[in-house]
Symmetry: C2
Subunit: 138 residues, 2 copies
């Protein structure tokens, strides 16, 4: 099991340090995207900055992607495999639940083509839908 996690790191050219194994293990257990603070609280006595740099490294190497859901804190979630270092390919919709305040990836829901006025060139799109998630609907 730890070996499995280690392979995931080495495949992305990330040195599998003890801290990074813990971080990836924690990420794998999540059902929604987490913030740095979530991670810090989840991995008890751990330095926030080290965790911050672990996430940054993961993102840089295409293992996780960051999500700006408007909550003020950047969220992180594992990529869908096809991402490479410095090049993310998982441009999907993200959902923020106003009830449980969890942010989820909707990898099946690609972002539609957005028409723009003449002279505007799109390079990146951030689409975040807010509402009530499937767990909070009653």
């Amino acid at each position: 099991m730890t070996e499995n996690i280690e392979v995931m790191l080495t495949e992305k050219n990330i040195n599998p340090t003890a801290m990074r194994l813990l971080v990836l293990d924690f990420l794998l257990k999540q059902s929604s995207a987490i913030s740095l603070t979530d991670l810090e609280k989840g991995l008890d006595p751990s330095d926030r900055i080290t965790l911050y740099r672990a996430l940054k490294k993961f993102e840089e190497k295409g293992l996780v992607h960051s999500i700006d859901d408007g909550s003020g804190a950047t969220k992180y979630a594992l990529c869908e495999n096809n991402c490479e270092a410095g090049h993310h390919h998982d441009l999907h919709v993200h959902f923020f639940c106003n009830t449980c305040r969890e942010t989820s990836c909707l990898p099946k829901h690609h972002i539609p083509q957005i028409p723009l006025p003449d002279g505007f060139k799109s390079e990146e799109v951030n689409l975040i839908v807010k509402g009530v998630c499937n767990k909070c609907v009653h």
Copy 2:
């Protein structure tokens, strides 16, 4: 002219104080959305907190809307008229230029319907396109 600005405020049930007149005047002169810091620098010797509360009041009353463009600082822009207190109706696309770092409203470009998985209910959508704006394309 000042009378005109004053009317805009009173129509939205906002007390037209000296500070608020200045803020609205400044907003009317902008061609793109501005941050609180932009406003503070634009209106020379003025208290940041007072400006902050002016913008909050304007937003609450449906005169401006706030934009989270991922830059870290909330941007503000005038609404398209049909907005009411506590109820904004200008759900349009926003564009962030990676070159000039200006954020623009694209009021002609409504946000398309985003399909969601079963059980998810959409209440709000934030769509921000990043790229190169018409002024920066060469």
